[in-house]
């Protein structure tokens, strides 16, 4: 082998020379690991009494409910997400262009808002049943909009966009050649979908599914609207009801462990199978749906959009009208500004973190960077308040140490340095939303052909120059997708923002909390609508851009 070639090889696969990259990825790994370690450290004194009590009373029911939700929401988001993504990405029917981006809109709506609106509209005392009772023959129909099926339905509608978004991008990326080859080998449309398209898109679909399931596990807001007990309920019961934060941390760490095992298990099942799109070529022609198929497709998409987005938005706008815009004052602009500023900064920080992790996994490929990468995805499965407290405890610990050192050095009281700072808040966002950014960043990196980077290196590009001239332009679409997803997520985020924001840093989500925590939903409608509208911009732009990019390629 020629010496020059070997050198190139060793840079790509061999012992890493990327000291800065390695240092950076270990820093990200450590930042995410510290708050998680704080949670696990609660096991130092096992709260046996609490565990015994929970096991003897509520735990069996909670586990049943949680399993039902994970299974139901998992299947639901898979069917809705993949089915709708296939329809909008690869088929043609009336309304497809609208649904293509419209089906992403529920992302902008917090799950607990959807839960509250659906519960209010459909429950016994709600307008839907009042209307039904007017219809002859249905006067005696009465049901409660609660229980497992309702919770599954609401969470599915709230979380399917993750699967939809990632599956859609994967379906759009499948080239004409692959599909034609499948046809030539004798597969029909369904056979192609099941045996070629789905396996090829599997990593993307699984990434979306993992997000949906982790959101389900971490959710507290939506399930508590239905008074539906899940594992998260036990965590909060231990903390708020039994005043036992260590027991809550123990429960939460158990949840984390389960998620980590599930993620590792999936990776092992997938094994060494890799699907590379070799020659993209022209996009394959869309499947034209006609007659009842077209109607069915349009109805399915339209119904999901109607219940998942139009209905709750209509209700929110109605409430704003009832409260006559009460509470709209000049502070509103500041709220919106801070919401966007925090979201934007968090997006920047989180996407940078995801990029470092993705690069390290590819370029370094060693155990520490793999562990850092795996750790970084876990924060998404933690209930928000628990993660926030983990971050807060870490920073308070560092502050206390700093103060002690300062006093020993002869200084006075330093006061809080990190806690209550923007840095703490951004760290919490980073840990929570790295999992969201990882997917799009990873698939962007996947598409980056190593030969391009090698060529640039051969021409003398190094370090930041390489990043600026090669990586950033080529990765931009993926990075933007990740950034916008994180932006929308951070704007909706509530528990970490509440606990860790500096004084005066109220956001729209904080305003929503102030009202909903006392049950004043009508007054919460104005900040909620503003939040959704602020999130709509990025979501629509995201959808349009990705559709445009693929149509024109």
């Amino acid at each position: 082998m020629a010496p020059g070639l070997r050198e190139t090889r060793s840079r790509l696969h061999g012992p890493p020379r990327n000291r800065p990259l390695r240092a950076a990825v270990l820093l990200v790994g450590a930042l995410t690991a510290v708050p998680l370690a704080v949670l696990f450290s609660a096991w130092a004194s096992p709260e046996t009494a609490v565990w015994e009590h929970l096991a003897a009373t509520v735990l069996p029911n909670l586990l049943r409910n949680t399993a039902a939700l994970v299974l139901g929401v998992g299947i639901g988001t898979l069917i809705l997400g993949c089915g709708l993504a296939w329809l909008t990405a690869r088929c043609e029917f009336p309304g497809r262009r609208w649904l293509d981006w419209g089906l992403m809109l529920p992302l902008a709506l917090p799950a607990y808002v959807l839960a509250f609106v659906v519960q209010g509209l459909f429950d016994t005392a709600g307008p839907v049943q009042r209307l039904l009772s007017q219809i002859p023959g249905l006067e005696r129909v009465s049901f409660e909009a609660r229980g497992t099926p309702w919770v599954i339905a609401v969470l599915t509608l709230a979380f399917y966009p993750y699967v939809y978004l990632l599956a859609r991008a994967a379906f759009l990326g499948i080239g004409r050649g692959t599909l034609e080859a499948a046809r030539l080998l004798g597969l029909g449309p369904w056979g192609t979908f099941l045996r070629v398209v789905l396996p090829t898109a599997r990593p993307a679909i699984v990434a979306g599914l993992a997000l949906a399931v982790m959101e389900t596990l971490a959710d507290f807001g939506a399930v508590s609207v239905f008074n539906y007990d899940t594992f998260t309920t036990a965590i909060y019961k231990a903390w708020f009801g039994l005043f036992n934060l260590p027991a809550a941390a123990q429960l939460a760490s158990l949840l984390l462990l389960l998620v980590a095992l599930a993620l590792a298990g999936e990776r092992r099942l997938r094994g060494a199978a890799r699907f590379h799109e070799t020659a993209r070529g022209a996009p394959p022609p869309r499947i034209r749906l006609a007659g009842w198929r077209a109607i069915l497709a349009a109805t399915a998409g339209g119904a999901v959009l109607a219940v998942g987005f139009v209905l709750p938005m209509t209700q929110l706008v109605g409430w704003v009208a009832v409260s006559a815009g009460g509470g709209l004052d000049d502070r509103y602009w500041a709220l919106l500004g801070r919401t966007l500023l925090l979201g934007g900064s968090a997006a920047l920080v989180t996407v940078t973190g995801a990029l470092l992790i993705g690069l390290a996994r590819r370029r370094l490929g060693d155990r520490p960077s793999r562990i850092a990468a795996d750790l970084s995805a876990l924060g998404y499965a933690l209930p928000g308040s628990v993660l926030a407290v983990g971050v807060m405890l870490s920073f308070a610990g560092i502050d206390n140490a700093l103060n002690t050192l300062w006093r020993l050095a002869g200084g006075g009281s330093l006061g809080p340095v990190l806690s209550g700072s923007i840095a703490a808040l951004l760290l919490a966002y980073l840990i929570r939303f790295l999992a969201v950014a990882n997917g799009p960043v990873d698939s962007a990196l996947e598409r980056l052909r190593p030969s391009v980077v090698e060529a640039a290196r051969a021409l003398g590009a190094r370090g930041l120059d390489l990043a600026r001239r090669i990586y950033l332009p080529l990765l931009r679409p993926g990075l933007l997708t990740a950034a916008l997803l994180v932006l929308v997520e951070v704007m909706k985020e509530m528990p970490a923002t509440l606990l860790l924001r500096p004084f005066g840093w109220d956001t729209l989500a904080v305003r929503i909390f102030e009202f909903t925590s006392e049950g004043e939903w009508q007054r919460a409608a104005l900040p909620a609508v503003t939040l959704v509208l602020a999130g709509l911009g990025p979501v629509i732009w995201l959808a349009r851009r990705s559709a445009g990019a693929h149509e024109s390629s």
């Binding site: 009373t57 609660r146 005043f243 308070a396 925590s517």
Partner: protein, 334 residues
């Protein structure tokens, strides 16, 4: 794109590096009582005294965890929370400082403040019964305990036991009746439920209004709000336990923190909040009852009638909260 990033970075660095300015004439408050219920009072106080008030709001649990973790470094001078259980817990973990204030002791009755002087009630929240005016006669409603009687089978609606208001209610019952009798009552409630417990007091009243059940237990201010929204609602308040222990009441209240940087300013703010001048506003902002007996309740609140309140010290609700939660879990009250 890049210039936006630079701008963001600049703003961030500036914010991160800005020291938390601690001027002498201010009080820093951690509050689990919502902004709309405290800010008007703080604004009035600042206008009157020139002392600024900075505050941050959150749920009680996270706020308390933060106060504990920050220890001596905490910027907080005053902790305001809802529910005596949370105040008791704050005192228990040692984040509050005992206060020797004749003003507060004069303004706030003994059963609405910590015997050790670490916290003081600022408003009273009563949790009476509500009933269907179409299907129940007020005379039938005797007490919380009576709702365990089989005559209410299939007619009772309750909010979830995960809400602290119900935990306090059962904790005070534990203090009064003991373990066995309280367990009997709670089991009776569960047996009488018309449907699974609800997520909110509002849902309880809506269920009564729509005929799903006949009687429930809610805080008065939720009733006040819903009644204003739906004048045609066929739900009314009944005051239970008038011949015995009195209506269950809870408080919202506050205490000066152990490591307060402005303890004197914090004490003065707390004293002012207990004064007749502030008490009317403090309670009426949320349709609650003033803790200071010298101050009359808001006319809208007074219209629900007067009642005998439970005179037991609300600190018991904190001491027995964990026991109450476990008791409700065992009784299958979700």
């Amino acid at each position: 794109m890049r210039s936006t990033a630079t701008l963001l970075a600049a703003v961030l660095v500036a914010t991160v590096l800005t020291p938390i300015a601690a001027t002498a004439a201010e009080v820093v408050v951690y509050s689990a009582r919502n902004e709309q219920l405290i800010k008007p009072l703080f604004d009035t106080y600042t206008a009157k005294t020139g002392v600024g008030v900075r505050f941050i709001t959150d749920k009680e649990g996270p706020l308390l965890a933060r106060l504990r973790a920050e220890g001596a470094n905490t910027p907080a001078d005053l902790l305001i929370t809802v529910d005596a259980g949370n105040l008791w817990q704050a005192a228990e973990v040692g984040v509050l400082a005992p206060l020797d204030s004749p003003v507060l002791e004069g303004n706030i009755p003994a059963h609405l403040r910590d015997p050790g002087g670490q916290w003081f009630g600022l408003s009273i929240r009563a949790r009476p019964l509500v009933y269907s005016t179409e299907r129940v006669k007020p005379a039938e409603l005797v007490s919380y305990e009576d709702l365990a009687d089989p005559k209410w089978k299939g007619r009772l609606c309750l909010r979830t036991s995960k809400k602290v208001y119900n935990q306090s209610l059962v904790a005070m019952m534990l203090a009064r009746l003991g373990e066995a009798e309280t367990a009997r009552v709670v089991q009776g409630w569960v047996a009488n439920l018309a449907t699974e417990p609800f997520a909110s007091d509002n849902q309880v009243m809506e269920a009564i209004d729509s005929g799903r059940c006949d009687v429930g237990i809610v805080n008065t201010y939720y009733f006040g709000r819903l009644a204003k929204e739906r004048p045609a609602m066929t739900v009314a308040i009944a005051w239970p336990n008038q011949a015995s222990s009195g209506v269950h009441v809870n408080i919202s209240g506050a205490g000066v923190t152990r490591h307060a940087k402005h303890p004197d300013e914090a004490r003065r703010l707390l004293e002012w909040l207990s004064s007749p001048e502030a008490q009317g506003l403090f309670a009426s902002l949320n349709l609650e009852y003033p803790a200071n007996p010298a101050v009359a309740a808001d006319p809208a609140v007074a219209a629900w009638g007067s009642f005998k309140a439970d005179p037991a010290n609300v600190a018991e609700a904190g001491r027995l909260q964990a026991a109450a939660v476990m008791l409700m879990d065992r009784a299958g009250y979700r």
